[in-house]
Symmetry: C3
């Protein structure tokens, strides 16, 4: 029996990136659906769960993707709510690469830092990737400062994350000028920039003024990057005593994690790959699993 992956994409065309990765992960049949939302997905899920007997349903799985992470989260919930009893298939959510990117970033940090108790700051912390980075750092026991242009939104994001984890600590902060960003980063060991395209938090030369900073990660691949000192290709490059990672520098891990998650979907019919599970996989991929 062939493995089948149903790709539910919330955009008007199914991501070619996700399709290539699915094929390279070994999926034998890929059913790509575009423009999927909670109102049109139920019948498609039924077609997935009612065609092969429960004992064979590990050969069918669902991937939720698309550029809009909020839409993906809603769709992911609806897909899971459509399952009942043994009538379910494994499902992964990675809209806009949010989960695999966040996992790869935190794994990069963990390969250099003791995250438990680590003072970290997440710039652009209310965006989909930023929130996930903050969540994973808190789960690792870090003391996380979550920064947004709006302190109110930062607080909302912190509250949402606190409902998911009781470890670490989360502190919201609002900032919009470079001097504010510098002040918030000062004394921190880890900074992760996860802002929108075109937003530069720290201009060139900033790392020189952050002597306590051990690791700087910028998840923006398109110039201007969020941390001007960090290049998109940087992968553990040292600058002014800080180890730097750019978006493409964590891309290798991200891609491996994405493929292994897809492959993992077919191990049983009840796997769920969302933020936490994808991070656990990223730790394995990086050889960082606690034993």
């Amino acid at each position: 029996m062939k493995t089948i992956l149903l790709q539910f994409d919330t955009d008007s065309r199914a991501s070619s990136f996700d399709r290539v990765v699915a094929v390279d992960a070994g999926v034998e049949e890929l059913f790509s659906y575009a423009g999927i939302n909670k109102d049109n997905v139920t019948g498609l899920v039924h077609g997935a769960i009612f065609t092969r007997g429960p004992a064979k349903l590990n050969n069918t799985a669902i991937f939720v993707g698309g550029s809009n992470v909020g839409d993906g989260e809603t769709l992911m919930k609806h897909v899971q709510n459509t399952f009942f009893g043994p009538m379910r298939v494994s499902v992964m959510m990675d809209s806009n690469g949010c989960n695999t990117t966040a996992a790869a970033a935190v794994v990069a940090a963990k390969s250099h830092l003791q995250l438990n108790g680590c003072s970290a700051v997440v710039l652009g912390g209310t965006g989909p990737v930023g929130q996930r980075v903050a969540q994973l750092l808190a789960m690792e026991g870090s003391d996380v400062l979550l920064v947004s242009r709006s302190e109110e939104r930062a607080e909302t994001a912190c509250a949402a994350i606190r409902s998911k984890t009781s470890t670490g600590s989360l502190t919201p902060a609002g900032a919009s000028t470079e001097s504010e960003f510098m002040e918030l980063c000062s004394g921190r060991k880890l900074v992760v920039a996860a802002g929108a395209a075109g937003v530069c938090f720290l201009t060139e030369g900033s790392l020189n003024s952050l002597p306590d900073l051990d690791v700087a990660i910028d998840l923006n691949a398109v110039p201007p990057t969020g941390l001007a000192d960090v290049g998109a290709m940087d992968k553990g490059k040292e600058l002014a005593g800080t180890i730097c990672y750019g978006a493409l520098g964590v891309g290798g891990t991200k891609m491996k994690v994405h493929k292994q998650a897809i492959a993992g979907l077919f191990e049983s019919n009840d796997r769920v790959f969302d933020t936490e599970e994808i991070y656990a996989l990223a730790l394995q991929v990086a050889g960082l699993t606690d034993k």
Copy 2:
């Protein structure tokens, strides 16, 4: 040369159910098209018949599906009218599972009853599945009472069926209350309920009042079922002297027939799998072929 199935679905998204079944039936390449109707299908059929020489066209086939059976019937005709001479491929029509469901239901009945001369009643007989059940029963020589809320529509359906078969007999009837339904079922050996979702013809305990009834088949999978005494999972279960089949109880046969029909499409380039041909296949699958 790989086998290619072109799935023409009249809905805005191609049925994932039909896609999974196609893959499980061994189709090597599945081209799924959604939103197909008579106005946009011609070029797609041309692409199917003009690409491989006539001698190889048995490797290409067409499946017509979607939730609307009337639209599927129109599309099926148009697809067949686009063929000419040897420029044709095999084609199957099973919108909303109408043909495979009807075939599986009648085969279930035939495994317990002598259908020739059998007094049968089809409740919800003007719907797409009901009409096909009535047609197949008439072809088997049954004396069929076709029941609808509207006697006029019942008469129209009977006339349509009579144009397709000269065996058996078809009698239209209008009914809308349970006492009317009970009266029409009284003395009959076979009742098949093929009404719309949510329509209950006979409430709980009715089978006790139908001592002549040998077989009761309810094709509605979603509660409330059409015959309250019949469970969706029933498969030959006896209750009050009546053998009962629910929608899922005939589902195994339906699925086998669907797959074998898909496989049969590639045996030559001129096969047609519509109501009669699919029933003939169902008889084979069930080991009921007259010899």
Copy 3:
């Protein structure tokens, strides 16, 4: 690693013709996208070039198709402009079969004529296929008369072709009556009819009045054909001293060239199959390569 072809179709449904040919050319995974234009293609190209390392990008390729050649040309340019450095995949453009048809037609002529210095006339020369036929003939050194209903459009087409080749000669002409068409064909050795469906340039018996004509090719498959004396199935058939080819007569070569071009896309990650490259391939297929 599986070969992946991304089909970018400018029509609202991806051509089933192009899909079947892609499968028969050996493509292992076909990602078909419909309704593609310059505004929605960039992300899809990024997904193609950013998923596999540059060293493996020869396993991914792009096909641009659809019924509108102008839209395909615009899309082809945009796809190529999205590539940068080693981040590119091979790409083929054959909207409405324009390149493979033109190549097959000129190859048919070349198998009978010395094209260098040959006096040729292209009727319907401003259409997508006609322009390509004229371009290829000029590249072969022919003296080409490019005929259109509008002399102004004929001149524009000639100027466009001259910017692509310095060999041969191109002369525009306007004509709209049969006597004008006959006069322009008189004394020429090769005539290619590439007009729109339904346009008949030369009525039955015309070949008798063109004693100098050696080869007549009509690329219109649907009656009325552009040259009434030429049948769609003609393949080197002689009539009144003229060797005739119809649309289906050049179809075998066209199909072989189409498949070999698709296969050639995967030889490296920087192949471009447009008019000239597809013609070079057609010469190979026909065994006419100059050595």
